[in-house]
Structure formats: C-alpha cells, structure tokens
C-alpha cells in the first residue's frame, strides 16, 4: 500500500535519445530482415535454367520444351557457367539479352483439332494484330523485346519500377515481365499474359491464376492510363472469356479497340512455359484475321503452300517441334550437289501430292525444294503451323466447328465464367 509516485515528467522530452537509438536500431534490423526475407522469396522461385531441360521432362511434353536448338548450341559456353535467373536476365545487355529473351516467350501451337472440354478448361480471347513482345520493367525503366529478343522500345512506364519518378514500393531491383502485343495504330501494349510481377514469378502458376492476377494488378499501377511524361505508352488488358458459347461468340464477333488477328485459346490449368505448347492454341479464319493463309515476301499468296524445314545430319527434314516431326529426306547426293549441310533451314513447296496421313500421323509429304530460307529465320516451322496452313487451303476448322464442339457438351455449359476482363 505504498502511496503511488505521482511525479510526472517535467520539462523533458518523453523519450531518451538512448531509447531512440535502440528503437532506430530495431527498426533498421526489422527492415533488413524484411528485405532479406523478400529477397529470398523472390530469388529462388524465379530460377530459370538456360541449360537443357532434365532428361525426364521429355516424357512430359507440357513441362518444358526447348525450341531453338540452334541458339542452344550457341549459348552453351556462357550458360554452362551458371544458371541465369530473371533478375540477372533483366540486367543483361545486347546480344546476351536478345538470346535470353528470345527463348522465354510461350508460343501457342496452331489449332489443328478442337480440344475436348473446350468450354470447361479453356479461355478464349481475340488476339490483337501486332508485334508479340516481352515488356520488362525494373530499376526505373521499361524495355520491350520482340520474339527474336531484339529491342523494340526503351521507355518510362507506370509499371512497377518502370520509371524513375515513381517512389517504388518495395525494392527498386524488383522487376515485372509482361507478355504483350504491341498494336501500332493506337500505340498500345495489349497485355496477354503476366510472367513476373514485382519480383514474384508466375511461371509456375496456372493461366487461371495469371489472368486473375493480371486483371487485379495491372490497373492498380496506372499503366492503363493515357500516356504522360513518365508513361510513354498505354497498356491495356484484353477481354478474356471462358470458352463457352457466349464467350467464344464474344471473342469472335465482339468489338475490340484493336485489329484482331485470330483467336487465342489458353488452357486454364497450364503453367506459363517457354517455347511451343499445345496448351495454348491459335486459330484464325477470314472473319477475324487478315492473315489466314501465309503470304510470301512480296505479300502474295503463293499458289502452293510453302514450308520451312530444318535439315538434319541424316538428311531428314524436320519441324521445330520437340521431338521433331520428319517431313521427308534429302538424299546425300543432292545435299552435296547443292552445298547444304545439317542445321540449314530450307524452304519447300507442297506440291500436288499434298500430305498423306495414316492413323492420324503424317505418312508422306510431296515436297518441292525452293531454296534456303530467309537468313532472318531463326527456326523451322512447327508441325501445327504446317498442318493449320494445309487445312486452311483444303478443309479448315470453321467457327461452326468450334461452336459445335462446345454444344456437344452442352450440359457443362451453364457454368459461370471465372474470369471476365474488361478494359
């Protein structure tokens, strides 16, 4: 029952400087701990290997597909030294950067048959016509890189850490990578996928999640706002639909602010994977694309379909797929005579004999040699591309076929669409 001390602090700051030092130290330590934690969370989860995929993954075509065999051999000496993670890659310059980014885009196959469960497992959206590219924002600047890795634009943007003026929440080194199509006429980047966001990798996330994330995150940044001093190009979301009847119809016939170039179909459960994948598909017809059938270098549609194939050691002519599909064989004499060697990309026309199939597999192709392909070409055509073009000339998959495939499983159809994206 001692009387309590009623003296109060008098003419004194409420806190001593020693206490302040202590607290500032604790704050600094807490902040450093958060940074270390954040660093760890971003770091290992974004490791992407430049080396060949592990052997076991070949049995699972969805896991990882190597596209550019040619590049592989070229980069091997550098890459073998270390694996490059995205943070390092975002700092790469010049040819190094070109090589790295050329291998990172997910490339849809062409739709040569209609997948089952289209309405249940797939999204659809109208592909904007334009240049497919990666947009990387980090360290106060933004760079876009084309499919072959070369730089398209270098600019300030409202993306995270995309311009110098913005006070970055989080580390300035954190980076974001978007999969975009640059649409010339309105100078807009249409974002079709999100690969990394504020340092977090979305490679191993499902398309469903990536679209959800893209939809909720992009507009938060102000990247969808009109251009300004620190935001040179506008970014825009593409409306994505569940691939049921109304969704497909909306994607096919709906008004878009951009010129359409076909429809893209994404499997909801598929991860983002570099290179060709059958879990993303492209399909076109004359109503939704100006470029259904390939043109030649003069912009004319050649009378016969042309394909580019890669010559192998044994003289076989293959597609860029993994494993490659063999379309034919050159005899050794011809090779010697024309000075061709393994690895060359060669252009052929498909002659009147066309393509013959047995049990759904290519059995024979009537190829007519035209010459070496354009030097800018990095790799051969994929099987699905050749097939799509072939079908486009003979018996294309029509819009009605797509609708028909959905209706055949009509009982599943009245599911609500999970993701609706609007501008």
């Amino acid at each position: 029952m001692a009387p309590h001390d009623l003296r109060r602090p008098f003419k004194r700051p409420a806190i001593s400087d020693q206490q302040r030092r202590r607290e500032l130290s604790l704050q600094r330590q807490a902040q450093n701990r958060r940074d270390a934690q954040q660093h760890a969370r971003c770091l290992a989860s974004t490791l992407l290997y430049l080396q060949s995929p592990h052997p076991e993954s070949t049995s699972e075509p969805e896991v990882e597909v190597e596209v550019e065999v040619e590049l592989e051999t070229e980069t091997e000496p550098e890459a073998s030294a270390s694996e490059i993670d995205i943070r390092q890659a975002s700092k790469l310059k010049g040819s190094q950067a070109r090589k790295w980014f050329a291998r990172q885009l997910m490339l849809p196959e062409w739709m040569i048959d209609v997948p089952d469960q289209l309405a249940q497992d797939w999204y659809v959206f109208a592909r904007p016509a334009g240049k497919r590219c990666f947009v990387v924002s980090t360290n106060g600047t933004t760079v876009s890189r084309l499919r072959n890795g070369s730089r398209l634009h270098h600019f300030p943007s409202a993306l995270p850490n995309g311009a110098r003026n913005r006070d970055a929440s989080g580390s300035a080194q954190s980076y974001s990578i978007l999969d975009c199509i640059f649409h010339e006429s309105d100078q807009t980047y249409y974002v079709v996928d999100m690969v990394c966001w504020r340092g977090y990798s979305l490679y191993e996330c499902t398309a469903e999640f990536r679209f959800f994330w893209l939809n909720s995150k992009l507009s938060e940044t102000g990247a969808c706002d009109p251009p300004s001093q620190y935001h040179r190009y506008r970014f825009s979301l593409v409306p994505v639909y569940s691939c049921d009847q109304p969704g497909l119809s909306a994607a096919y016939t709906g008004e878009t602010p951009y010129v359409k170039d076909g429809l893209l179909f994404y499997n909801k459960h598929a991860h983002y994977q570099t290179g060709n994948t059958p879990l993303a598909l492209v399909w076109k017809d004359e109503n939704c694309s100006q470029y259904v059938i390939d043109t030649d270098s003069k912009g004319q549609i050649p009378s016969q379909q042309q394909v580019v194939l890669e010559l192998q050691d044994n003289g076989s002519l293959t597609t860029s797929d993994d494993p490659p599909v063999v379309f034919g064989c050159l005899d050794g004499g011809f090779m010697q005579k024309s000075g061709l060697c393994s690895g060359n990309l060669l252009r052929f026309a498909i002659s009147n004999g066309g393509l013959s199939f047995a049990d759904g597999k290519l059995e024979k192709a009537d190829l007519h040699y035209l010459g070496k392909s354009n030097r800018a070409r990095a790799f051969a055509d994929s099987y699905s591309k050749v097939m799509f073009q072939y079908m486009a000339r003979h018996s294309p998959i029509r819009y009605d076929d797509l609708i028909g495939s959905i209706s055949s499983s009509i009982d599943q159809e009245n599911k609500p669409s999970d993701v609706q994206m609007d501008d």
């Binding site: 009387p3 003296r7 602090p9 020693q18 202590r22 500032l24 450093n32 934690q37 969370r41 977090y200």
Partner: protein, 872 residues
Amino acid sequence: MAMEVTQILLNAQAVDSTVRKQAEENLKQFQEQNLPSFLLSLAGELSNDDKPVESRKLAGLILKNALDAKEQHRKLELVQRWLSLDTSVKVQIKACLLKTISSHAPDARSTASQVIAKVAGIELPHKQWPELIGTLLSNIHQLPAHTRQATLETLGYICEEVSPDLVDQDQVNKILTAVVQGMNSSESNNDVKFAATRALFNALGFAQANFSNDMERDYIMRVVCEATLSPELKIRQAAFECLVAISSTYYEKLAPYIQDIFNITAKAVKEDEEPVALQAIEFWSSVCDEEIDILEEYGGEFSGESDIPCFYFVKQALPVLVPMLLETLLKQEEDQDQDEGAWNIAMAGGTCLGLVARTVGDDVVPLVMPFIEENLTKPDWRQREAATYAFGSILEGPSPDKLIPLVNIALNFMLTALMQDPNNHVKDTTAWTLGRMFEFLHGSALETPIITQTNIQQIITVLIQSMKDVPNVAEKACGALYFLAQGYEDAGSSSSPLTPFFQEIVQALLTVTHREDAGESRLRTAAYETLNEVVRCSTDETAPMVLQLVPLIMMELHQTLEAQKLSSDEREKQNELQGLLCGCLQVIIQKLGSSEPTKYVFMQYADQMMALFLRVFASRSATAHEEAMLAIGALAYAAGADFAKYMPEFYRYLEMGLQNFEDYQVCAITVGVVGDICRALEDKILPYCDGIMTQLLKDLSSNQLHRSVKPPIFSCFGDIALAIGENFEKYLMYAMPMLQSAAELSAHVSGADDDMLEYTNSLRNGILEAYSGILQGFKGSSKTQLLMPYAPHVLQFLDSLYMEKDMDDAVSKTAIGVLGDLADTLGSNAGPLIQQSVSSRDFLNECLSTDDHMIRESAEWAKLAISRAISF
C-alpha cells in the same frame, strides 16, 4: 527444536559488523538446517508480546522475504516451497500471524498484516485458507480500535496482493462494507479511518459490481468525498488518492459527481497543504489522461456500446480549471530547476495545464493568453516564468493555425529573454519553450514555417550563446537545438537550411561536452544527444564534416579507455561517457554507411573503430556494453561480408552478451546484432553457428532471462536459417520442438490483459519469423523433405491464430507470409495439407481484402506461392 532466536535477531541489527555478520550466518544456517522450524520460530517471535519490538519486526520481515521476491523465478521457487510445507506447520504460522494483528505493538501488527497478505497471495489462488477473510471480518466490530486498524490494513494489503477474480462477490461486498464503515463519520478513531481509506484505495479494483450499482456507488463516493474534508492531513491525502484511482478505474461513472469533485479539488488546490493539493491536481491530470486516450482511440467519434465514451469533463471545467492551474504556476520554488527530485504545486499545475491543452486543443488558448500577456514582462521573475511556462505548456494540442501567429510574435521575445533575462529560472523555461515551439510547430509537415531564412541565423546564434549559460539553461538550449535539427530531417539528400551552420553547431556542441560542469543537469548527455540528432538529420552536403567527426570521437573514446586508477565514482562517469561516445559513433556509422560514396571513405576507420568497441567490453557497465553492441551491429550492416575478419576476436563478446541475463537489454541488443551479422556474412557465419545456437537455446530455456528477449531470439533463428540455408539441418531437432511448444503456448491467451496480449503477439511474431526464415533457407535445397514432418504443426498454428482473432497487424502479415513460404519451399508435397487448412481459405481471403498494404502484399505472395504449389 527450541532455539533462542530473539538474541540472534537483535544481533543481526547490531552496530558492530562482526556481531551482525555472525548473526546473519546463524540465521542462514538455521534456515538451511530446518526450514519449518525456522519459520515457526520467526512466527512465534513475531506474535509474542513479551519480545522486543525490534526482534519481532525483523522476524516478520524475514518471514515476508521467505514468501516473495522481486525476481520472477525466485518468486516461483518461494511459492513452491511454501506450498510444499507440512500443513500443520502452515496452520501454526498462520495462527501466529492472525494473533499478532491484535497486538499492542503497532510495528508488529503492521508487519504481520503484510505477511498475511503474502500468504494469502500464495494460498488463495490454490483455494487454500478460505476462512481468512471471514476471520478478519469478524474482527471488525467488537474489538479495540488498534485491532480494527490492523484488520483494515490487512484487508488492504490482501486486496493489493490478490487478483480480484479470486474473491467472490459476497466477500467483496463484506470487505467494502467494512472498509467504508471504517471511513464513515461514525468511526471516531483517526488511525482506523486512515487505515480504512488506504484499504479502499487497494480495494477499488474489486468494486466493479458495486460501482455499477447506483446506490452503492453513491455511498462510496459520498464517504470518499467526506474523507477529503477530514481534519487529519493524511486522511485527506489518502482520500484524494482514492479519487485519483477512481478517475482512471471508473471514469465512465464520474458524471454525477464531477461538479462536487471539482469544488473539492479547487478548494484543496487553493487552500490545502501541498501533499493534498498535489493529489487534487493529479485528479485532473488523470482525467486528462483518460480523455486523451479515449479521443485518440476513437478520433473523437464515439460509436459502439462497449466502448467508453468521452464525457468532456475537462472541456466543461475549462473556464474554472484553467485559472486555477494558472494560479499554481506562480508558486515556484527557488531552485526547482537544479533539483532532480523536485515536485511541487507549480510543476504539477504546469504539467496538468499541458495535459489540458492536449485534451481540449484550441479552446485552451484564449483562456491562457491574457495571463501570459499580463505577466510576461513583470519585474517579479515568478510572473515572467509562470507566463513563459504557461505558453510552453499549451504548445502541444491546439492547432498550428491557432498557434503559429502567436509563436511568430513570441519567438523574438523569447530569443531576447534567453539572452537578457537576469533570472536563471526564467531562462531555463524560455529555452524549454523554444524547444517546444520547434518540436511541435516546426517541420516539413507544416505549411507556414516559423523558422525562415531571415530568423534562422539569429535563432542559432542565440541557442549557441545560451549553451554557454549555467548547466540547466544550457541543457535546455541543447534540447531546443535537437528539435530544430529534427524539423529538417526530411531534407533528404537535398539541401538543408542547417548546412551553413553545421560546422558552427557541431563545434559548439563539442565544446559543451568538454565543459567542466557538463556533468550537472545531464548537460553532457544532452549535448551528445543533440549532436546525434544533428548528424541524423544532416544531408549529403555535410557528409565530409560528419566524416571529420569520426577520428575526433574515436580519439575521445580512446582517451576514456586509457584513463588509469580511477575512483569508482570516476569510473562510473567514464563508463557513462563511453556509452555516449559509442552511441554517437553508432549514429555516424548509420549515417555514413547509408550511401555508397561516404561508406567507402568511412570504412577506412572500421578496423580502429572495432578495436575500440572491443575494449569497451572490458568495462563492467551495462549501458556501455549495450551502446558498443549497437554500434557494432551498425558497423556489421555497413561492412557486409567484410565484417567476417572481425569475427574471431568479436565472437567471445558476442557470446558474453548472449549470456548476460541480468542486463537483459544487453542480451536483447546482442540477439539483434546476431541478426545483423547473419545478413552481413550470410553463410560465412557458419563456423560460429554452433556456439550461437547453443547459447540462444540456453537463453530460451532459462527462466531467469527477461521474457521480452525471447521473441527476438526466435526471430534470430530465422535470420540464422536464412543465412546458412540447409546447413540449419543440424539445429532442426533442437529448434523445432522449442518453436512448437512456444507456438502452442502462444496460440491461446483467453482472458489475458493488454500487456499479456501484446507480449503474446510479439512472441507469435518471433516464432513466425523463425518459421519463415527456416522455410526460405531450405528452399531449393535437396533437403526440404526434412521440413515436411513440421508442416502440419505450422499450419495448425496458423489456423489456431486465425480462429483466436486476436492477432495484431504485424502478426497477420508474418503469419500469412509463412503460409506462402511453406507452399513455396515444400511445393506440391504440402499442397494437400495446405488446401485442408482454414488459413489457406478464410484467413488468406481476409488478408487479401484488407486495407493494410503490408498484409495484402504478404497475402498476395502467399496466394501466388500456393497457386504454384497446388498446380503442379
């Protein structure tokens, strides 16, 4: 065993130290040989009216010390020891104690009262001694006054010792009835009345139900108010103490009485003796505290039923309260500014005025201004000082709009007064008031600056001049400069208005630290603190000058370490100075280490600096150790991996710090420094981890270490794991069970008070940071499967935290992050487990939709990581 303890107890108080020591030794032996008999002898001695008061009193004190100790672990030991005593022994001792409160010797009675309360504090929680309160209450009516007095005193001590929920309402009612009767006018004995009033003070916490009953509350309040008018000073003082306690415990019940209480307090402040007047002022300070808390918590808008509304008592009393307080300001004591322990009515009144200003804001200003204007220029120093103090007091609370015009007028006057007023007391308060102006009305947040291009030169010149004044004035001038500098802390890397004066200010502060009389009025400390703040708030422009400080301060530190043959007094001062110098170096390290170019130049001093810090550890001062440790942490952060070269020498001091249980602040700081070193060295810390982990695990198992150190130790596990990755493997078998049991303990805290909840949350945060670091540390390694067995428990912990609904924001953020780390590291292996947990659904969704940016960011991480884990 019959032993003559009386003589030994008397000898133990002898003047002759040989006799005393012998007696103390005897007592110790007795206690060790036969504790029950020892305690019985003491109780017998205490209760025996034939024995001398001195031996009885000491017997009681030793008994009391055998039941309670300050240190928590010792206290628990004593409690266990008492509980395990033979029942018949305890019964005899308690009987002796109860008998003693009827003794004619007041000292014996009072000592017995305290011992009874200690026994009650141990036994009542174990449902033992149920008849105690009944027995005491039966004493109340019939017995002589001195027994009634002792009984009331005992009840008071029991209320102080025992938690209210251990006494049932029926007994509470009886206690309160007895106590209030003792205070009543029908009681004629003043000693009984006083004991009753003090007992009420302790019993107020038990009176929750009674204060909710209008009739009972009215009665209690009437008796308390009557007691404030008692002719006996100590009763009046005790009664006001009750009012103060009521104002904070039962604020929401005060409304019907506030007018009467105001009249009572006003009369006491004006007319009564100082001890009573101080309590009367304290009543209003306490009401201010309550209203400030309420208004802060609700932002002025009261809503909801369970919350306590603000009754605006202070605002209503304002027109009479403020003049009453202003009047007290004129009652200063001559030398109160030199006397550290001073507390008088002028000081209490001024402090209360400051609280009133914080409570009501703008409304206080027009009531105070006339007083200031009237008195500020009077010949009597008391009037000038009171006016200045009044002005300084109201600078926190009212809006800048209201204050800035006044400050703009007053500033010049104050600067002149600080130079020219003949009275030290006035100058002290003037410098303090300038400091308050800069603290509350100067800084980047304010639109119209009071310090401008035109007056900054004059302000700094005056403050530097004033730093040469007597120590108490100079100390206040340093304080003013501290806040002046702080106002420019947001200048960042751009130009600061202080830059042109930087050199001059630093020079002046260093000169102050060397003053002969710098030990008075904590002047030296204030000068170093101000120097630290000036450095903290400096910009890149002045970095070269900060760099010049490094060898200077190092030299000073070196000199303190060289000093030989000091008296213990001098050594203490030397240690204090070492602490200040290490603190200053710490601030400089952090400043210069924060930008690459300055860090590069400054690191040339790192070797020398480290050598000095290590020598500081040779001193025995906890403060110096703490400061050196903090500075080393800052150095490790700045040095990064280069810090490795200091580890061989530094390690033993690190270990020493981790073993310092007594000075737990040192231990806590050292734990933080381990974290700094982990981040600086990363896997290079591995060779030291066995030792560090052993020590940390020992710390955790110790019940001597202050509990506040335990959460940072858990966080430190995370730091270590993150630094050494899968090498943490060998510590898993020790660390994980500790984390698990701590997690289980901290998951549920039903019924705990705010302090306990706050501690529990910091413990949870530490545990979660440990999990986070361990999980992330193992990520990508081939040994992640080692963590699988722990995953269910981690998820269970997260789930139970979510269900408990009492996490604070920091814990939510860390917890949801751990969910992400678990998914990230264990991947698809943990997928099914994660999907089963409540956390991955409800908790995650809640966090995703919160307004708190940090929590949302962690939640997004978790969502992302989970999405990856379950999509494989």
